[in-house]
Amino acid sequence: MAGFILRKAKPNDVSDILRLIKELAKFEEMEEKVMLSEKDLLEDGFGDHPFYHCLVAEVPKEQSSDDHTVVGFAMYYFTYDPWTGKLLYLEDFYVMQEFRGLGIGSEILKVLSETALKTRCSGMHFIVAENNTKSIEFYKRRGAADLSSEEGWRLFEIEKEGLEKMTSR
């Protein structure tokens, strides 16, 4: 039975974190959209003010066929709901295909839930693509509510070009 551990990411995990971000993006057919570099991840996650936090899942070297021992990760940060306060926002969540079914995903969610409760968050938020039925079921089985469905929220974005236009108004 394969064993694994979960731990907080360290600065020298950034190359694995970037690798897993790219793998997840490839799965969504969006690999060329990943613009971040290891340097960005290092500055942004392990500098004076971390903009994100990561949990990584690691297996012993003998269990890994290709030398990678970091086989899964979750990237999260804290957000704020003006009605109820702090929230834990789960941004990215991925386990390499060959290491699924071992309970890594469930364990990650468990640790994140503990973190959220310990930091007195009133909930955990995340977005899922509407066609990702497997993930939707994974989350709904654990009690997640689809706020887009229930409350009609739509996610918007203004990109850099739009921001620049607004600064020169």
């Binding site: 997840l24 959209k33 903009f51 989350y139 009690g143 996610l155 607004m166």
Partner: protein, 184 residues
């Protein structure tokens, strides 16, 4: 009427809560506001701020000589009426990095049409650019047509429509269940 924008200070917390409740009332959700001034103070002005605010206040007025419909409760830390705010924080996109997330954005009804909203957005855009964010994100209720137009006019894209993203939530009860799963 002239107004100015500034970063919120600890003394603005009562006004921030008042405006949060005003906006909730507008959405018929006032009793959903559970936050207290104490929490807003700790969470926004402690060691690690979990949110930041830009405040809009009316220049040259104090609560005593303001228009009769500007209630005394609209008094800012220095006596200037606080009439609007934007609450934001930084998020992280694993493909492009830092983003500015606009959580709440509100101007009191009687102070609209002065350009406060546009100025707030402009200020936020400058902030996003100077902190090297790749964009600004926010959610809007699908039924809020005036806000949707306001944002689309400024170049906002509806990612829910274009990319099919749906926002999900685990509430506290679900978190507690996941944190200590029952014996199989």
């Amino acid at each position: 009427m002239d107004f100015r924008l500034r970063g919120a200070e600890a003394g603005d917390v009562p006004d921030i809560l008042r405006l949060v409740k005003d906006l909730a009332k507008y959405e018929d959700m006032e009793k959903e506001v559970k936050l207290t001034e104490k929490e807003l103070l700790e969470d926004g002005f402690g060691d690690t701020p979990f949110y930041r605010c830009i405040i809009a206040e009316i220049k040259g007025e104090t609560s005593s000589d303001g228009p009769s419909h500007a209630p005394t409760e609209a008094t800012g830390a220095k006596g200037a009426p606080v009439v609007g705010f934007a609450m934001y924080y930084f998020t992280y996109d694993p493909w492009v990095g830092k983003q500015l997330y606009l959580e709440e954005f509100y101007v009191m009804e009687q102070y609209r049409g002065l350009g406060v909203g546009s100025q707030l957005l402009r200020h936020l855009s400058e902030l996003a650019i100077s902190t090297r964010c790749s964009g600004m994100m926010f959610v809007v209720a699908e039924s809020n047509a005036p806000s949707i137009s306001f944002y689309k006019r400024r170049g906002a894209e509806d990612l829910s429509q274009e990319e099919g993203w749906r926002l999900f939530r685990f509430d506290k009860a679900s978190l507690a269940r996941m944190a200590a799963p029952a014996e199989e």
